[in-house]
């Protein structure tokens, strides 16, 4: 078996999310160092507050300020903080019921060690120095000896309330392409294009994905195809892609390599964009040290007859 290929893969998005009126008041309040809950029809105060009653699904809008102090209802000691978590030194995760609230809020509790934490202990909010209107405006909770803090009597109406948040998210992966695609990539690095044949319908798939999607069986027999092929269809790209150093307009085409039963796609170069046509015979252009063809260019042969590639459109 050839070596397993691996490459880092980062999936990263800034999610832009709009806020309902209750969420907006809560997060704007954090910016102003005010903690707001919402009152349900049966008189409970939910912190953090939600737009709809979790029991009755009734719309709820009755904001009420609670104290920045509270009681731990459960906790867990996190001796190895992970990326993105509120503190980068060991801390306790805690659910905290703030004074005046009937439900608990999840956050970090900064404590010297697990021996200093217990369910029922008193804590207070440590505010972040810079606040933007996010749950992270609470830097963490910290131990606190004393009675309930005093709400300021805030109504929940703010100048410049938030209407949305941007929540960045990043996940890191190690991508491995699997057996069939690894073999394909290994062959490409030797400037050969190798597909795989279905043992049932005999079709040759390029690039191979390990299974015949028609028959549902594994492909295994390796078949070298190309290097030349036929443009089966194409489009003209007029908008420059970000981070891509190719002048527009250019042609992107489906190319049926000789011997393949599935067209792959690649850029066509070495010919004005308006002279590319269905049936054009092309060949790959390799650049020094590259692991795949940079593009395909006209092979200088007569065009292929439509009947020879119509099944591959």
């Amino acid at each position: 078996m050839p070596e397993v290929l691996r490459a880092p893969l980062v999936v990263e998005f800034p999610f832009t999310r709009s806020l309902g009126p209750v969420q907006s008041a809560f997060l704007t309040g954090l910016r102003e160092r005010v903690v707001l809950g919402v009152r349900t029809g049966d008189g409970r105060t939910l912190v953090p507050p939600v737009e709809y009653d979790p029991v009755t699904a009734e719309e709820i809008r009755d904001l009420v300020e609670v104290a920045p102090t509270g009681t731990v209802t459960t906790w867990a000691w996190n001796h190895e903080p992970r990326r993105g978590q509120p503190l980068d030194t060991p801390f306790a995760w805690a659910l905290v019921r703030l004074d005046g609230a009937d439900t608990a809020l999840l956050h970090a509790l900064d404590a010297p060690g697990p021996a200093a934490v217990r369910t029922g202990m008193r804590v207070r909010i440590r505010w972040a120095a810079e606040r933007t209107g996010a749950i992270t405006d609470i830097a963490c909770f910290e131990p606190y000896e004393g009675g309930a803090g005093q709400p300021t009597g805030h109504t929940g109406a703010f100048d410049e309330p938030l209407s949305g948040i941007v929540a960045p998210a990043r996940l890191d992966y190690t991508y491995s392409p699997g057996r069939a695609q690894s073999a394909y990539i290994h062959a490409l690095s030797e400037q050969r294009t190798v597909g795989e044949r279905c043992p049932s319908c005999r079709k040759v798939y390029v690039p191979p994905r390990g299974a015949c999607p028609t028959c549902g069986v594994a492909t295994a027999e390796q078949v070298e195809v190309g290097p030349r092929g036929t443009v089966t269809t194409f489009c003209i790209v007029n908008i420059k892609a970000k981070n891509l150093d190719i002048e527009v307009p250019y042609v992107y085409a489906h190319i049926a390599l000789d011997g393949a039963d599935l067209a792959l796609h690649a850029r066509i170069g070495g010919v004005p964009y308006d002279q590319v046509r269905m049936g054009l015979r092309v060949e790959p252009v390799w650049t020094e040290g590259a692991r795949y063809p940079d593009h395909y260019r006209p092979a200088g042969e007569p065009d292929a007859d439509y009947d020879t590639y119509k099944e591959l459109l």
């Binding site: 992966y173 994905r209 390990g210 549902g216």
Partner: protein, 350 residues
């Protein structure tokens, strides 16, 4: 609802820490072939196909469409997918068969946890406003639940360790399990109070089930595992709103599925963390006379998105081979047992 539907076949991969030498379809396809071979059916004979998986696990967009290559979906088949554990795909297939639109269904699911960090990936299913920005990983949330259970006096760390040890000892008899052996040390704290032995192994795997209705089930399987009822229920997403020491949604789902009408002899519980088994046993009223997780459960192999379907498959397989007459199968989704599915399976009297 007078149509009888049964699980007639079940197959799963050997679950492993990594399957990096295989793509998803390369991992799934042998299981599809195996489950079809058990019944003698070909893919073209199947009336409905439904799968469960999550693109976030391996970071591959639309991976479920690539996995479908392993089914052989041409000419076009009747097909659906849920971005959930395969147990919910089975639920969709069961309702499809109830309507009479199909007589057989292929249900499969798979999870490749190895390319990413599943503890962090699962944070992305949380409330995006108040919780996800804090990146509380799946073990941290389970640890909060375990501590609440300890504080309530329902368990302690030695009792949790015993759940882990019993699961891994039972897994000795499961050729597919990833972690097995009753004498494996409980290990260090991962997030206190949970130790390594309280947490599921991280791994890759797949599973598949075939459902059939009425006489078709009897033709395909000597002793079909009849689905007497399935139901699934969800709790509020706010962790601080819930009583983490109880699982009212699991209890309600079990009630709606008919689990309390007669005792079960076996329960396959999808409890990835030891404390969650304690909660589920209490919520479902399972006594010491019920054989819980003879497969070793999710503490022995936890391919995310497949581990719930495997519980139904394992329970059905025990009925197929005559080791159980009435079994409860449970699947969970979300943090701290947020959503729960319960199926009740029975064999014909012997």
């Amino acid at each position: 609802m007078n149509r009888e539907i049964a699980v007639v076949a079940f197959a799963q991969t050997d679950h492993r820490r990594s399957t990096e030498e295989s793509s998803e379809v390369e991992m799934v396809m042998p299981v599809l072939h195996e489950v079809l071979a058990q019944t003698g059916l070909r893919a073209a004979d199947i009336g409905f196909t439904c799968s469960g998986s999550s693109d976030y696990l391996a970071g591959r967009a639309f991976s479920f469409t690539l996995a479908l290559d392993g089914v052989g979906a041409w000419p076009p088949i009747s097909e659906s997918h849920v971005e959930m554990d395969g147990a919910w795909a089975l639920y969709e297939a069961w309702t499809k068969l109830l309507t009479g639109d199909a007589d057989t269904a292929l249900v499969y699911s798979y999870g490749k946890c190895s390319p990413g960090s599943v503890r962090d990936v699962l944070t992305r299913q949380l409330d995006p406003y108040y919780v996800a920005p804090l990146w509380p990983d799946s073990i941290a949330l389970a640890a909060l639940q375990a501590q609440a259970l300890i504080d309530a006096g329902h368990t302690d760390e030695p009792a949790l360790a015993a759940v882990g040890a019993r699961s891994r000892a039972d897994a000795e008899a499961n050729p597919h399990a990833q972690v097995k052996g009753g004498s494996i040390p409980q290990g260090d704290y991962v997030v206190r109070p949970l130790r390594t032995g309280d947490c599921p192994p991280v791994g890759d795997g797949a599973a598949a089930v075939i459902l059939a209705a009425g006489e078709r089930a009897r033709e395909l399987c000597e002793r079909p595992a009849w689905i007497r009822g399935i139901d699934h229920r969800i709790e509020a997403h706010g962790l601080g709103v819930r009583d983490l020491t109880d699982s009212p949604s699991a209890r309600l789902a079990a009630d709606k599925a008919g689990a309390f009408e007669r005792p079960v002899d076996t329960a396959e519980l999808h409890a990835p963390f030891t404390a969650q088994e304690v909660i589920l046993r209490r919520a479902l009223g399972l006594g010491d006379d019920v054989r819980v997780n003879p497969s070793g459960g999710a503490l022995a192999a936890n391919p995310v998105m497949a581990a719930g379907l495997i519980r139904i498959g394992e329970a059905a397989a025990r009925i197929h081979r005559g080791a159980s007459d009435r079994a409860l199968a449970h699947a969970t989704s979300g943090p701290c047992l947020q959503q729960n599915l319960v199926a009740v399976l029975e064999g014909d009297p012997r």
